[in-house]
């Protein structure tokens, strides 16, 4: 089959690789119909995640058709059209059973790598480096899905592929960001980052009762979509002082809930960007926590900061004094997709959430590198590959 393989920093190649086969009884094989790029792929591609190996197939946000099932798969059959959670959960460990799926004890066959870096290992993720299991990703004609009964969700009739594919990652991640923020009716919510996850977080915040959502970015197209489609008020951080703007727009209180949908590769117009960029370059810091600092400063007293943008390692100069003395609550984590996906598919079907607008470019696998270039330059919301 064809697959998009990592070959080094900034080097993706479409290659011929063997077809996947059933390895364990709970595996299924899918024919990939749509497979989306994701902002977190850029961390891999730009060399911020150290355990990538040449030849790894990337991609983790996808939907497709079940073409083969293992002997222990009970809830799926050949021909099912399914969307797959990007994070793997076994369904049997203590974490999965308490619906904290991204903390699964069993789905990372390379648990020893994160155990050294993080103390304990989180779940495995498709196509997301060997620290997260080394699973072959979805930018391919076919993919093996372990624990298929747990990770595959049948897409309701009538819901198009183009909407359903984002129920794999962008939508449950954005929804979880809003859920973690513990939004109370009437809350004003500030959201940094208007990429796929940010857009979904905006819509989810409204769904959970926010009265206003203020979204922050600098890409004109993304700000336009945040405003026109997702319904947020928008701030262009290249044009305004974000702290001042948020304070004034909230009657001097500050936003009740602040959501970081950006993570470790944040950019800003200020000196702090160069501070972090330099420290990152000399390896004194692995992540650029610009948005996190801003969110902590901007958040109202007693508010909640929800972190869904990915951080990988160490950050510097976090204003802990501000967080402590303002009695902030921090919530964070990779998405527990299996907890949210069934409900989100219903919201999509009823039109209470809109995801298909994010698919701005559809390409073939052969255009893989070009697609990621476009995405890296933020000239598209989401490139989605249609393998066959």
């Amino acid at each position: 089959m064809k697959a998009l393989c990592y070959n080094g920093v900034g080097d993706l190649r479409t290659e011929r690789v063997p077809d996947p086969t059933i390895i364990n009884p709970k595996d299924a094989i899918l024919r990939v119909i749509l497979s989306s790029v994701c902002g977190s792929d850029l961390h891999l591609l730009n060399g911020y995640v150290p355990t990538m190996r040449e030849g790894d197939i990337i991609g983790h946000e996808f939907m497709g058709e079940v073409i083969e099932i293992g002997s222990e798969v009970k809830n799926l059959k050949k021909g099912d059209r399914v969307v797959v959670c990007s994070i793997l959960g076994c369904g049997e460990c203590q974490y999965c059973q308490s619906t904290q799926w991204s903390l699964c004890d069993n789905s990372n066959p390379h648990a020893w790598i994160p155990e050294k870096a993080y103390g304990y290992s989180p779940a495995g993720i498709f196509g997301y480096s060997h620290a997260f299991g080394g699973y072959a990703g979805s930018h391919a004609d076919y993919i093996r899905v372990p624990y298929a009964d747990r990770g595959c969700f049948v897409i309701p009739e009538g819901l198009p592929d183009e909407a359903a594919v984002f129920a794999s990652d962008a939508l449950p991640t954005g929804f979880m960001a809003a859920d973690l923020a513990d939004i109370q009716p009437g809350n004003v919510v500030a959201i940094w980052g208007c990429g796929g996850v940010g857009q979904m977080a905006i819509q989810s915040a409204f769904l959970l009762g926010a009265s206003r959502v203020i979204a922050i970015d600098r890409e004109p197209d993304r700000l336009r979509m945040a405003k026109e489609i997702s319904g947020a008020e928008v701030l262009d951080f290249s044009k305004v002082d974000v702290q001042e703007a948020l304070r004034e727009m909230t009657g001097g209180r500050g936003p009740d809930r602040c959501i970081d949908c950006v993570g470790m590769e944040a950019v800003s117009e200020g000196l702090d960007y160069y501070y972090d960029k330099t420290k990152q370059f000399v390896r004194l810091e692995s992540d650029r926590p610009i948005v996190l600092r801003e969110a902590i400063m901007a958040c109202r007293k007693g508010g909640t900061v929800s972190i869904i943008g990915v951080y990988g390692g160490l950050v510097d100069s976090i204003p802990m004094g501000a967080a402590m003395n303002k009695a902030l609550t921090f919530r964070m984590g990779q998405q527990h997709g299996q907890r949210y996906i069934p409900r989100l598919l219903e919201h999509l079907q009823k039109g209470e959430l809109n995801s298909s607008f994010m698919l701005t470019h559809k390409m073939s696998l052969d255009q893989g590198m070009a697609g990621y270039d476009l995405f890296n330059k933020k000239e598209t919301m989401r490139v989605v590959f249609a393998p066959q």
Binding site: M1, A3, C5, N7, R13, E15, V17, P18, D19, P20, T21, I23, N24, P25, K26, R53, E54, G55, D56, I57, E72, C90, G91, E92, C93, Q94, Q97, D105, N106, S107, N108, P109, A111, W112, G124, G133, G134, Y135, A136, A140, R144, P146, Y147
Partner: protein
């Protein structure tokens, strides 16, 4: 800092049992003789393996035996003959035992976890460094290890020993020790404890072993110890995976763009794949 570390077993109040000092942890070969034995053995093994014929294989096996004899300072033939060419005092000089401890929680009832472990024949299912465990009677068992290093495996062959259960409290704990003349003297304890709030069973395992004696043996074991420790930890993770999910999490056999992994007709979960995976973990 490492020297100040209190052994985990004492923290948990377990594993007071020490492995015997029999077999390989005793030196009965003189130092000079050991060096010559190791060097000559290595040459012989290399030459033998290059020839590839049956004669070559015999030479390689003999070479392997000599390497082992040199590295460990222990010669079973010397033992049998009552011969000891080592320094007079070294006869009762045994290596300090090395301890490996690992605990994890399995989301299954204690009875079930204990029963699976107590059926010792089950162990090679998740302990990839073992090729076989045979229950000889209720207390005694025969263990066969596999060596992950290809060359070492070719020269040393299998490492085997008999073990005896010294203490057994059903659903609670097992204490065992290798019996005299084991190639690697070892002892251990596994404890099964209910985790709080019905979170399943805590498994605490402590394994102690004496490295083959002498400077040469010690140096070699120091090299192998981190890999060995990682291997035991991986084994226990697989135990948890198997009991909780019924299968062992793996990516062996999945596609990639790496040409070296694209051998047509290669079976995904063949023995070879298991060896590869083990090797990968051993390299840490």
């Amino acid at each position: 800092m490492a020297n100040k570390k209190q052994p985990v077993s004492s923290l948990l109040g377990m594993g007071p049992i020490e492995p015997d000092t029999s077999g390989s942890s005793r030196i009965n070969v003189d130092n000079t003789e050991r060096i010559w034995s190791a060097a000559g053995g290595a040459l012989l093994a290399t030459y033998g393996l290059r020839r590839g014929s049956l004669g070559g294989l015999l030479l390689a096996t003999l070479g392997g035996f000599m390497v082992y004899r040199g590295a460990s300072g222990y010669c079973p033939m010397n033992k049998a003959l009552g011969r000891n060419t080592a320094e007079p005092k070294s006869d009762d000089k045994a290596m300090d035992s090395i301890e490996i401890a690992k605990s994890l929680t399995i989301n299954k009832p204690r009875k079930e976890v204990y029963a699976y472990w107590r059926q010792l024949e089950n162990l090679p299912q998740f302990m990839f460094h073992l090729s076989e465990v045979q229950q000889l009677d209720n207390k005694r068992s025969h263990w066969v290890a596999k060596l992950s290093d290809g060359l070492l495996a070719k020269t040393l062959g299998t490492v085997e020993w008999d073990a005896e259960i010294l203490e057994e409290v059903k659903n609670e704990r097992l204490v065992w020790k290798s019996v005299a003349d084991a190639r690697i003297d070892n002892a251990g304890e596994v404890r099964f404890v209910d985790a709080p709030n019905g979170q399943g069973t805590e498994v605490h395992a402590v394994i102690k072993y004496r490295p083959p004696a002498g400077q040469l043996g010690g140096a070699i074991m120091k090299l192998f110890n981190p890999a060995f420790e990682e291997m035991i930890k991986q084994d226990l993770r697989r135990f948890k995976q198997l009991l909780e999910t019924g299968e062992i999490t793996t990516i062996e056999g999945q596609p990639s763009g790496r040409k070296s992994e694209q051998q047509p007709g290669k079976k995904p979960i063949s023995e070879q794949a298991k060896v590869d995976e083990k090797h990968e973990s051993a390299m840490l």
